[in-house]
Symmetry: D2
Subunit: 103 residues, 4 copies
Amino acid sequence: MVDMGKGECHAVHGYTASKGSYLRRMRLIEGQVRGIQRMLEADEYCIDIMTQVSAITSALKAVSMALLKDHLEHCVAAAAREGGEVAQEKFDEAMTAIARLAR
Amino acid sequence: MVDMGKGECHAVHGYTASKGSYLRRMRLIEGQVRGIQRMLEADEYCIDIMTQVSAITSALKAVSMALLKDHLEHCVAAAAREGGEVAQEKFDEAMTAIARLAR
Amino acid sequence: MVDMGKGECHAVHGYTASKGSYLRRMRLIEGQVRGIQRMLEADEYCIDIMTQVSAITSALKAVSMALLKDHLEHCVAAAAREGGEVAQEKFDEAMTAIARLAR
Amino acid sequence: MVDMGKGECHAVHGYTASKGSYLRRMRLIEGQVRGIQRMLEADEYCIDIMTQVSAITSALKAVSMALLKDHLEHCVAAAAREGGEVAQEKFDEAMTAIARLAR
């Protein structure tokens, strides 16, 4: 009756425990994005802008990797313990997300 | 006295003509970053957040590619016409930026 | 006495069932690598060589993604069912492999 | 009569001077690809195989970056000096190759 597998994933997400840290990281990234806008307005050098854009991309990739780690350790692990179709679905979904990251 | 090669790059950047379009793209990206913050606050599903983070990464990559194209066609082309050390410096700098993009 | 979790991973690997298919793919890739050597020897155009190198990189990435999928569905799933340190170790190891793919 | 721009690119490629070094690198990569085949035949651990596949991908990326550098410094630089459509074509072609590298 209590479905631990799904429960661990749908009520409380893998990232919930560190939600505050994710929010802080996304606010820093928002600041970096506004920084690029200022650089463009100040006619800064193209290569310097590209360097800052790459820094944002790296920061976003790190957020994605952390979300994936939390997701594997909570949602996917719970689904694996359940087994069957639920597990297969979670694995397929995780692979799609990883493929997007690896592109 | 007029150094066209450098001039084309330092007074007017490769991206200057389309500065408005770059600013618009960066404002859209800023909106997407705030969207992620709302998703985290609303406890949305980890995989859905990762999908949106990937969308931002793709948008930023597209901005970088466009900046690089403008940079090659203006600054690097001008330096290539000048030749010598100026050209070599621009090529090395462009390769460093491309390596960062290709990581 | 029978440790299904570990057994599923150490005696028979995730990829074992499709070993023949992986070997065929790696032989095709070997052929593509030799193709690049012939292109270099025939002084073919740099951009054409780069295109073929990218094709090999894509083929290798596809092999890695397939290996990862098999690994998650077998070894990591088995470790998740065991839980504890064994599971944590497998998750950390998988994340390291994914980080390498996402670089 | 003598078209230096095109000549520099079609008769002698950017990579010609270091053709021997490129061939050596591609032979090393061929050896690494055969190494993966032996690992599969010996039923080695999936993660170890993935690590080796990543090493080949990195080696191929390094070859592509070196080819691109030679191409920019020779073919693209020559086309930039010619200017006009020839230059535009080379820039577009280089951007396509860079986009493939950055994927």
